[in-house]
Amino acid sequence: MNEPNEDPTFGKLFWLSLPVGAVFVAVGAITALRQHGASQPVALVAFLVGLWLIHDLVVAPTVFAVGAGLRHRVGGRSRAIVQAALIVTGVVTLVSIPFVAGWGRDPQNPSLLPGNYAAGLFAILVATWVIAGVSLLLVWRRAKRTP
């Protein structure tokens, strides 16, 4: 299953895309500098780099660590089901953080974030794991029947 460790080949399209992409990046950078009062370039760069580092140094390694842990603990066809449920759990939980925490809530404006998001998240996760659990049962039963 080895994939060739390919040497990327850079064709004409790459050299053509370079100035076009650079113009887009420049429009962004120039806008940030021209509206520096609103864009706060230093803080903006800190956020851009910070989120990138959080992803590359925390989120991705955590996912790989969980994946590696799973490899040792759950075998066979059950693993795919657990992986699927964990992916949905992880993504939905991540997205729900600002909703559940309610950092944006405004006591004067109850129409903003009107739901009970902790209960909503819980419901989604319960549904996910119920589906996963039923799938696991089916896989195990089939495995028992056909040893």
């Binding site: 990327p8 895309s17 806008t31 864009s39 903006l44 992803h55 991705a60 992916i87 949905v88």
Partner: protein, 398 residues
Amino acid sequence: MSRLDDLVRELSGKAPQKGPLREGAFDGSRLHQRRIAAILGIVLGVSFTVCFLTGMLSHLIQYPPSWFAWPAQPAGLYRFTQGLHVATGIASIPLLLAKLWTVYPRLFRFPPLTSVAHLIERVALSPLVAGALFLLFSGIASITRWNPWPFSFPVAHYVAAWITIGGLIIHLGAKASVLRPALARAGTDHSDPAATPSDGLSRRGLLAVVFGAAGVLTLVTIGQTVRPLEWLGLLAPRKPTVGPQGFPVNKTAQSAGITAAATSPDYRLQVTGNIATPRTFTLDDLRAMPQREVTLPIVCVDGWSANVHWRGISLRDLLGSAGATEGATVEVRSLQVAGCRYCTSELNASHAWDEETVLALEANGDVLDLDHGFPVRLIGPNRPGVMQTKWVTEVVVR
């Protein structure tokens, strides 16, 4: 260039022989192969392009250059484009995370750089990856009104959009040559992708789960703009029927600081500017005028929308009776203290003279709630909510 390429390769060093960074450590995983990265990349390319175009459209509508005139009809077009912008952004979250996960091991490939072009391509990834993460993070934070930053969200989101799409264009240019072989089924995998997995998710299985997660996120948030799915909006930041008079509020009267002025008996609506005689109306004057009823959505840039039945004075009739020239543009001013971004809004000729544009006094059968803009608010078709000025006190004809 070849001597420079050699130098780049030499500076890249050698692969470690052991540990998770050793050469070929991830080669065994079919999930990190090029085909899945290519498929996710194509879908993300489409979703980010949709977000970029709808976002730029929203920007043009709010800051129209001289060559751009956004029409008042079809009335629900902005509702569709902005709903699509936010929904596509939300659905992109699992796609982006999965894409970054599939290509993550490549960060540790040896040699990290093989040529000058490769170096440039790697550098160009930084605006793409950082920008994409920022766009989705700031978008989600913003629709929950969480602003953990010192900059203006619209400006930062706009800047990041240009930077990200710039990075995307270069990335597409760099990957164009490997896209076709990566997508070609033969030769990329030694197993049937649809085959029953024996050791975890298959490629097709991973894609199904990632698209499934995008679907789940869409289902539990889209109810903020698609009314029939409101009940499913477990993670929707707004519910279209929740709020005073049965629809949501963005800026409250208290936060705008207009409560005293809006409820004062001294309130007047003035019509001024390029007309023969400026006119002034009390609230009773306005109520005594012929009323027009329209059902129009209030559409927030945050992606929520709600249908509301409005009753008030047709702006077209008001302008006509004040002697404004048909086709004149109009600025509507709020009681909100001058200097804020949304204290005023411009109506181009299409919006100012549209049959459905109304200075509303009532919503859903009752006098406007203070938070919805009492005593008078602007409501017109096909406009972002931030341009539906509340607590209107002056109509200036240009």
